[in-house]
Amino acid sequence: MTPGAGGDRAPRPGAVYVLPAALFFAFFAVLPLVLVALLSFTEWTGIGDPRFIGTDNWTRLAGDPLVLTSTRTTLLLMLFAWAAQTALALPLGVWAAGRQRNRAVLSAIFFLPLLLSSAAIALMWKSMLDPNFGVAAVVGPWIGVPDGNLIGTPRGALICIIITVTWQFVPFHTLLYQGAARNIPAVLYDAARMDGANRWQSFLRVTLPQLRNTIVTSSVLMLVGSLTYFETILLLTGGGPGDSTYVLPFLMYQAAFERSEMGYAAAIATGLVLLGTLLSLAIVRFSGFSRMRSTLEGM
């Protein structure tokens, strides 16, 4: 059967089917988004009525040095977290796609971090990073930090956050890759072997190309997801030391709930939404994901 041949004649759900979801989405996603965008043009402490102040919040946003620092940290974190997670999750996932029994057991153990809440993970890492009573006291000297001051320097804190989120999210992406790798028809590997490819070559020429869509999906999830890293940072470093681990969601939280500057927080939030949207669009566009070509082409 040619793909889609019978699909066109199959009874399709009418627009009315989408109505409940559309209404739900409009009410709980679009409306708040619009309201937040409107709020970003006001000054509001959360008490009394918002006062319209035009583009003041946006002007302030553009000139706020902390926004610049936070954006840079957000992007750095995004990039390094993506690189670290992909570098681990992809090979792990492909490895876990094998069928031996011990792999199933190990995969289940790898999966554990995903079951813990972000808050629990952050607090656990926080106590591990304590230079006197944590693992940092042991690990520090091995890596050239004899006093275990791992999370106490601007660069160290950022690396600690990357390690923490990597530890937390690698299992999920491993699962994605495992599923995708299992879907690769064995016949492709057979063919590669007949052509004389070794393991490395078949990984490079068969597995990787077949995982293309999964890589894109996983990357979008990681990159856009990293825009929302918040509780880890709040609990692990509180944005510190100094302002070295301030990220945009953290800045938004502080503006809204610690400084009661709801309007300014709304501007940061709107900025984040724009950034996230642009990012997803860019990835989808430049990765060829939008064309949705089958990775099984030619079969």
Binding site: T45, G46, I47, G48, S117, S118, A119, A120, A122, L123, K126, S127, L129, D130, P131, N132, F133, G134, A136, D147, G148, N149, L150, I151, G152, T153, F230, E231, L234, L235, T237, G238, G239, G240, P241, G242, D243, Y253, Q254, F257, E258, R259, S260, E261
Partner: protein, 437 residues
């Protein structure tokens, strides 16, 4: 120093998730003050922090009040970090509590500005006997401008210099009484590879106590009061600059060791380093004593010493002056339908013998005059007497800066202070960063 019981900082874990939930939750269950039970009585909704010890004392007060015929009071309790946000959101809505727990100063200034709170000055002035029961320095610290908006509701939490008797004994030293002695002691301890002062640098509020005391000793309470009143040029006051420079010098000298920026405050952090003798001293609130009793009982019993912050030679400040959390306060919201009953509750209970005795038994030292003889009922009479005497004799009791400044300056102040400790900012850089806000 948002938190009266700092060990509860570990509950911060819930805040990450709780922040959103608290906001959502408020919409549904903000004011639970519907008619309940006896319909003829008004219902007063009282908001407090969640804490087993505190709440027991507060519930007893509510029960005593409810035994009368005036009105019924009901206690609602909330976890610390979620509380401030929940309160903020509630204050912005129509679902306000009648009476609520707060820290005074910046924690309610926004509400006073929004004309949401009852001015308690007339009530206090009309009843000199009631007003006179509270220690003046503590009552004063609850003022916003010239008015009283809060009545003290629990014990006092001054910042105290704790020392490890065994460690100081080992190097043959006494706790420092002057700043010069402090610096000499730092060098001696360093030579013995002992961290002079435990410091939980991952939480910037722990850094605050140092600048609070130094600025007060060097320039007196007026230096910071100017800033709390909104004059940001106060950060460049010569006394403030001098205090900031002293901090930089102390950090560079190794006063806090090398890895303080990675040390936590929670269990297993600064308090444990100190108790185990890896650090000789710890500048912390009075709650540190309770924490040590709880977590290192043997050390608290035998090895824990306490004293006042050293005198700064040539400083303009009174060496008896203290900083910290004078106490926590109950305030009344203007929109309450039961202002008179709520006031009656505060007047009946907040200085009553039963209430005060309950606090003493719980280990707190309430800011009540003439308490000396009753403190023997405390589980730790010696420490309670020290705290009481310290506050009673203090010419001023400065509210922790993070509570005293407007909420919007709180985080930048803490961040910049952390940068100063890290050496990323010098005194003048700090002052200009604060003035630029």
């Amino acid at each position: 120093m948002t938190n009266p019981l700092m060990s509860r900082r570990s509950l911060l874990g819930l805040a990450g998730l709780g922040a959103g939930a608290a906001v959502l939750g408020t919409a549904g269950c903000g004011g639970s003050s519907g008619p309940q039970g006896d319909d003829s009585k008004a219902l007063i909704d009282i908001w407090c922090l969640q804490d087993p010890v505190q709440n027991r004392v507060q519930q007893a007060a509510v029960d005593r009040f409810n035994a009368g015929d005036a009105a019924d009071a009901k206690l609602s309790t909330f976890i610390n970090d979620a509380y401030q946000q929940k309160l903020g959101v509630a204050m912005g809505s129509e679902q306000r509590p009648d009476v609520f727990f707060n820290w005074g100063g910046g924690s309610i200034r926004e509400y006073v500005r929004g004309d949401l709170l009852v001015d308690l000055t007339p009530t206090l002035d009309a009843d000199a006997a009631f007003k006179g029961r509270f220690l003046p320095a503590v009552l004063e610290a609850g003022k916003i401008g010239a008015q009283y908006y809060g009545v003290p509701l629990r014990g006092m939490q001054p910042i105290i210099l704790y020392y490890n008797k065994e460690v100081l004994g080992r190097v043959g030293a006494q706790p420092p009484t002057t700043w010069a002695e402090t610096l000499t002691l730092v060098d001696r301890l360093k030579a013995e590879s002992i961290t002079p002062f435990a410091l939980a640098g991952t939480q910037p509020w722990t850094l605050l106590m140092w600048i609070e005391y130094l600025a007060d000793r060097i320039g007196g309470p007026a230096v910071f009061q100017r800033i709390a009143d909104g004059d940001k040029t106060g950060w460049s006051d010569p006394a403030m600059i001098k205090a900031l420079n002293e901090i930089t010098a102390l950090v560079d000298r190794g006063g806090f060791g090398t890895n303080w920026a990675s040390v936590n405050y929670e269990a297993g952090g600064a308090g444990t380093i100190f108790a185990q003798g890896k650090a000789a001293m710890h500048l912390m609130g009075s709650w540190e004593y309770t924490n040590q009793v709880d977590q290192q009982p043997e050390f608290a019993q035998n090895g824990l010493g306490w004293t006042t912050f050293p005198v700064y030679e040539g400083g303009a400040g009174d060496p008896k002056a203290i900083v910290g959390n004078p106490t926590n306060y109950f305030s009344i919201t203007k929109s309450s339908a039961n202002v008179a009953d709520a006031t009656a509750f505060l007047k009946q209970e907040m200085a009553s013998d039963a209430y005060v005795d309950d606090w003493i038994k719980a280990g707190d030292v309430p800011p009540i005059t003439g308490l000396e003889s009753r403190l023997s009922a405390s589980p730790s009479p010696e420490f309670s007497a020290f705290v009481y005497g310290m506050v009673r004799d203090a010419p001023s009791f400065q509210l922790s800066w993070d509570q005293a400044v407007d909420q919007k300056y709180r985080d930048p102040m803490l961040t910049n202070l952390q940068k100063l400790f890290l050496g990323e900012l010098d005194a003048n850089g700090f002052a200009s960063a604060m003035a630029a806000l």
